[in-house]
Symmetry: C2
Subunit: 394 residues, 2 copies
């Protein structure tokens, strides 16, 4: 037996371990200081009452022979796929039910989808980026190239026709930069993908944070995307499902090449390597799309959005350049006074006892930048903003 030695090409990620270690050291040396964490990428509000009600009711169904559910459909139950399809209709996007696959989260499918593509494909990933796009491809031995996301392009790189590639990752609103493509910008990527015969893997995990109608909530709002783009979405950030695990992947029927169809090939992959999402969880996810569910979900989202606004306004007042803050739970700021990412991390920890995430951990273009998130409580966010203002005001 031999191991897959491509794993040796993946960089060990010390980012969050190093953050934790520096915070632990500081706290041990300053037991009297209250450390505020704005580095967290996880939700903190509980599941919505409608979701809880649906979960309880589904558990009850599992307790009786007459309503017990065994193996479910590989693609997910039709009641949930119908709800998802209805959710897309509000954007003017019409999906067939068999174009929707219920998953246990966007992360799983973003990695697993690569099974259906050749290992010889060249992959284009923005830098900085959510590290799993790169790692899942390096594991499989694929060549990864980068598009440069920088202050100059507002961390929204545009296609370069001089570059050839097969698989294009787009995350919008972006993690970690919070930057989101408008429909015109996304159209350029779709046109490029069609010209290059490439496929776009579109990570829409943060779509529910978008309020500006010129921005795309789905790649399918852009003409031509149905021929080249696969969209991944999740209930994690939309409805607080990070610990409940449900998402969905859209693969239009029209994506095919030389007689091979992406939708059918993915179905074959899923039927062979996956057995569906728990019935209970699918019932909970469907409750997100009811009238009452949407109302409750939007209240939770409004809470996080207000946190993001507080942080963004703080940066505005301090004259600090940033992306995100609006249409995103992330604020990606340029470290003041020319500090490096880790230098600013230490500065903020020591002087304001506020913890964020050094941008350098997301790629070389992240150096000199810093990520704050809106997923903390209102109290913590308000206090953190107050402290940041105090130390950074002239």
């Amino acid at each position: 037996m031999n191991f897959n030695l491509n794993f040796n090409n993946i960089a060990e990620s010390y980012l969050f371990a190093e953050v934790d270690s520096r915070v632990a050291k500081y706290s041990a040396e300053h037991p009297d200081k209250q450390v505020l964490k704005l580095g967290i990428g996880d939700v903190t509000l509980p599941l919505a009452p409608e979701v809880i009600k649906a979960l309880h009711s589904a558990v009850d169904e599992m307790s009786k022979k007459e309503t017990f559910k065994g193996y479910g459909p590989y693609k997910g139950y039709e009641f949930l796929r119908k709800s998802i399809s209805g959710y897309y209709k509000r954007l003017g996007v019409s999906l067939e039910l068999d174009e929707i696959f219920v998953s246990d989260g966007a992360k799983s499918d973003l990695g697993n989808i690569l099974d259906i593509f050749s290992e010889k494909n060249v992959v284009l990933v923005p830098d900085p980026v959510y590290p799993v796009y790169v790692d899942t491809n390096l594991m499989a031995g694929r060549k990864v190239i980068y598009s440069e996301a920088t202050e100059a392009n507002g961390f929204l790189p545009m296609p370069d026709y001089g570059v050839d590639c097969d698989i294009i990752y787009i995350c919008s609103p972006n993690n970690p930069t919070g930057a989101a493509y408008d429909k015109a910008g996304l159209k350029k990527w779709v046109d490029y993908a069609l010209a290059k015969n490439a496929v776009i893997l579109y990570d829409a995990a943060y779509e529910s944070f978008i309020e500006d109608n010129t921005l795309a909530r789905s790649v399918y709002e852009v003409e031509g995307a149905e021929k080249c783009a696969i969209e991944f979405c999740s209930f994690s950030k939309t409805a607080g499902f990070t610990g409940t695990r449900c998402g969905y992947t859209v693969i239009p029927r029209a994506i095919e090449k030389e007689g091979v169809n992406a939708n059918r090939t993915w179905f074959r992959r899923q039927a062979t390597k996956f057995n569906g999402v728990p019935y209970i969880v699918q019932k909970g996810a469907a409750a997100v799309f009811t009238e009452q569910g949407q109302k409750q979900i939007n209240e939770n989202l409004a809470y996080y959005k207000a946190n993001a606004k507080l942080i963004a306004e703080c940066m505005d007042q301090l004259g600090i350049w940033y992306t995100g803050g609006k249409n995103s739970p992330y604020i990606w700021l340029k470290c003041p006074k020319g500090m490096g990412s880790w230098e600013f991390f230490d500065y903020l920890l020591e002087n304001a006892q506020v913890v964020g995430t050094p941008g350098a951990g997301f790629g070389k273009n992240g150096e000199g930048y810093f990520r704050l998130t809106a997923f903390g409580s209102r109290e913590v966010t308000e206090e953190a903003v107050k402290r940041i203002k105090k130390i950074l005001s002239k």
Copy 2:
């Protein structure tokens, strides 16, 4: 972009579609006849009351900010891994908590584990077999060779030192044949794997049906297995979790080669391509291991085991050769009167209105054999047995 053309090497599976189609045709032509299904591989009894209680309680935790759970540990919550480790102790098997990975089912991990192995590895699979072992490897471009499971070896093939391979699949008790290795037989496979530097992927999904103490419930009951075997297990058949989705994979720390460690590599794979099993489901799974939970689970298992016994006794009375029936929910019988698998399928459907699964669908050595399962209700099983006896008695 190019697709992974290895998918073209996977045979389309028409087995269950063909079964359904023949049954539908028969029922349409004979609306007055009651068709009894003993082909089902899914459980039919509801979740145990202790599991239901734990699920409700976990849903309540998700409804309050103080007890809400976001992202969980990639390996699964410690409370569940501790329970699993305790479950192994009854067999005299001692596992470290970090050797246990909670999964969303044995099927997912049996496919995904291949990510950590080289694509050049040669895979040894018994014929007949659960089709996903073969398909997941063909997808990745691996060479698959077969060990012959036949009447002569009781459908329990033994290693042939003249054959070289890297990855060995063992499913015991087996799906579809119901045959289970005793510890002595399994020891021969472990010795062979160690001699060949191969890894055993041991599918123990049906271990809870074993009652005979000479048979292995875990591969780790055999000395040396901790250096060469990965074990996959599931709550699906043990506790009726086919629609609730939870399993576990054991990767001993000792499996390594040239500095690469299987446990650490799998952890890296999971951290990159998986985000854990729902907290709610993990709480439900942990309830299976409580005293009350074990008692309830064993009552359900006893129900299925009694069904299996009814079918096995029927075969004994008819003088039909079979494997399984004891220590397994499957009865794998030799079609009487020299009939082929599909010929017997039609014969049974037309003359007794009983539906089973033609063995030919599981590999070439399955031709001439037929699978019946114990997962139906008692009433259906009793009536089916009565009808089979009637048409096959001399």
